[in-house]
């Protein structure tokens, strides 16, 4: 009795935190168990530099999923902005591998190389120049005209937000989670 009581407490907590319904949480929990081999955490994630966890538990799993939920447009403007910021922050962290709050040129280059590395025709130089070009563009958006010897440190989170201002990320960064209840009742 006690066990089930606390389990549903947890589910409610997760529901509140992430916005998934209890059915969806149960389904995702089953998937999590499958991926983790019935362990409480998923291990053996790619070992990266400090800042990357090497294991995640179900709550982290669910939190990451919730970043991809569509923004509920019926919410007020402030909440919509908050959701957007959360999504962009997630993305920012994907680029900023050492979590120092700035995407430096080096980190940017790493991401571009990672995405393009499969193609044997592309040399490292091309990947670099692409990254450099993109970085320049970002600089011009964020800082405006720079002095010739001014060095651009890196993209901060605020700069990142500035780049994305006005651009609709909604259509790009969401996964359509189905509402389990409506399906079941159709039978």
């Amino acid at each position: 009795m006690g066990a089930t009581h606390s389990a549903s407490e947890e589910v409610r907590e997760l529901e509140g935190k992430t916005g998934f319904s209890s059915d969806q949480i149960e389904q995702l929990h089953r998937r999590f168990k499958h991926l983790s081999g019935d362990q409480p955490t998923i291990r053996n994630l790619r070992k990266g530099p400090s800042g990357l966890a090497d294991e995640i538990n179900f709550e982290d799993f669910l939190t990451i999923m919730s970043y991809f939920r569509p923004i509920d447009t019926t919410m007020d403007e402030e909440r919509v902005q908050l959701c957007r910021k959360e999504k962009l922050r997630f993305l920012f962290h994907m680029y900023d591998s050492d979590s120092d709050g700035r995407i430096t040129l080096e980190e940017y280059r790493n991401v571009v190389e990672e995405l393009l590395s499969g193609n044997p025709h592309i040399e490292k130089e091309s990947a670099r120049s692409i990254a450099d070009g993109a970085m320049m563009e970002a600089a011009s958006v964020c800082v405006g005209r720079m002095e010739p010897d001014q060095v651009y440190e890196g993209i901060t989170f605020d700069d990142f937000l500035k780049i994305w201002q006005g651009i609709d990320i909604e259509t790009k960064m969401h996964v359509r989670f189905l509402n389990m209840e409506t399906i079941a009742l159709c039978h």
Binding site: F68, M94, L116, A138, A184
Partner: protein, 438 residues
């Protein structure tokens, strides 16, 4: 009468009944109609149960029928479409969105890993093991379930175990005896008889109901029979209707005993584990076998591993390089009566067999299909895919290009690299740089 005598009498009566009602008819290929009656009662009971469950579902306690519908609706748009939009052809920060979305979709639900676990049923079939969320619906249903448990574990299970025991011992003893005879047509006929009788007994041991379709296309001597693979029981199902030469690895334990016994009566092709790795050796031995038109058709499962009977995965091209005539066979189990899929990472052979013997029944359809041969200009891979599609369509299964070996192995890096290649082709073209830099 004291208890020992009583026990003796019971066992004696039991064995006589079994002999009379099951073994003798099996030997002659007859059926007394008992299993048909059982199936009819079973079907009626399950229908009733389904109706009761549907009636009993209230607004709050929803039926978790998430079987074939997943939790997400995947975005199937290809890379070009997904990345286009506000961008030019150069690299954009937003490109990462597309990849992270695709990645997340794959993490939540992919079409391959779900094939390595049992299919979820649309409506409960009164077995605890298929009830993902046990919900108390009504006392009547619970009573029927309890009755079902009693019938399955106390009546059916002992019967089935007895039959299985008798069947396997008869097989081992029979084939050893027949193996003593000199090589002659009498010996072949006897070995066929022993084979078929034992298979029929074993099928009754699982309460199997098998429908064979298109028997005119049954595999002939000197050919190769290929089928989709769901469990070791596939072999039993096919051999009940004809004799085949098996191909496979030498196992230890119970399987090993059966294998060694079978080889004595008629030539099968068993390989040592180390020999399996040498593809040329395997191909050579199989070619020799089918060249001899008097030898039985070879039975091969090209998927290489057990899949859960909802889809057909990549057929390995090895079997299709041997030449000769291929006889495709599609096998489809009805999951409502019992789940035949062997999840070898979860259950070992013995617990799997116990699960089989405590299900309601094993019901399946077998479709024999017209023989095919490799066409001019078709290579082994294309041929394999052609046969795979035919089997998938006939059996009503989905077709997946993925390798069944992914059950245990990781995806090869070449797949990841291909995605990267596609992306970089979009950005940079084939080696020429496309952007204007200050």
């Amino acid at each position: 009468m004291d208890s020992a005598e009583l026990a003796g009498k019971i066992v004696y009566t039991w064995l006589t009944l079994v002999l009379g009602f099951i073994l003798l008819p099996s030997a002659f290929g007859l059926s007394l109609g008992i299993s048909e009656l059982y199936m009819k009662i079973l079907v009626k009971t399950l229908e009733w149960a389904t109706l009761r469950i549907e009636k009993g579902v209230s607004k709050e306690s929803v039926l978790k029928s998430s079987a074939s519908v997943g939790i997400i609706q995947r975005d199937e748009s290809p890379m070009e479409k997904g990345l286009s939009g506000l961008r030019g052809r150069d690299f954009e920060l937003s490109d990462v969105f597309y990849f992270s979305k695709k990645g997340l979709e794959a993490i939540v639900e992919d079409e391959v890993t779900q094939r390595f676990s049992s299919e979820e049923l649309v409506s409960w079939n009164l077995l605890t093991r298929t009830n993902v969320n046990f919900q108390y619906i009504s006392p009547k249903l619970t009573m029927v379930w309890v009755l079902g448990v009693i019938v399955r574990y106390c009546v059916l299970l002992p019967l089935r175990v007895t039959l299985a025991f008798i069947g396997i011992s008869f097989l081992v003893i029979g084939t050893t005896l027949v193996g003593q005879l000199p090589e002659s047509s009498l010996r072949n006929r006897l070995s066929e008889l022993v084979h078929l009788t034992c298979c029929r007994i074993c099928v009754r041991a699982l309460s199997g109901t098998i429908h064979y379709h298109n028997k005119q296309y049954r595999p002939q001597k000197g050919g190769i029979c290929v089928a989709n693979h769901t469990s070791p029981i596939d072999v039993l199902i096919l051999t009940t209707d004809g004799c085949y030469a098996m191909v496979g690895q030498v196992h230890g334990g119970l399987m090993g005993i059966i294998q060694r016994a079978m080889v004595k009566a008629c030539p099968h092709v068993w390989f040592e584990r180390s020999e399996m790795k040498d593809r040329h050796l395997v191909t050579k031995r199989l070619r020799e076998h089918i060249a001899d038109k008097k030898k039985l058709p070879i039975l091969i499962f090209p998927e290489g591993t057990c899949i859960n009977n909802t889809s057909v995965m990549m057929f390995k091209k090895g079997s299709f390089e041997i030449g000769g005539t291929i006889y495709p066979v599609a096998i489809k189990y009805n999951p409502q009566f019992g789940d035949a899929f062997w999840n070898s990472s979860k259950y070992n052979m013995v617990s799997y067999l116990l699960r089989m013997m405590t299900s309601w029944a094993i019901v399946c359809d077998v479709w024999y299909m017209p023989p095919v041969t490799r066409e001019e200009g078709e290579d082994a891979v294309q041929f394999a895919n052609r046969v795979k599609s035919a089997i998938a369509i006939q059996g009503g299964l989905t077709e997946l290009p993925w390798d069944g070996g992914l059950k245990r192995a990781k995806v090869k890096d070449t797949f990841k690299e291909e995605q990267q290649k596609n992306y970089s082709k979009m950005i940079v073209g084939n080696g020429s740089l496309n952007s204007e830099l200050d």
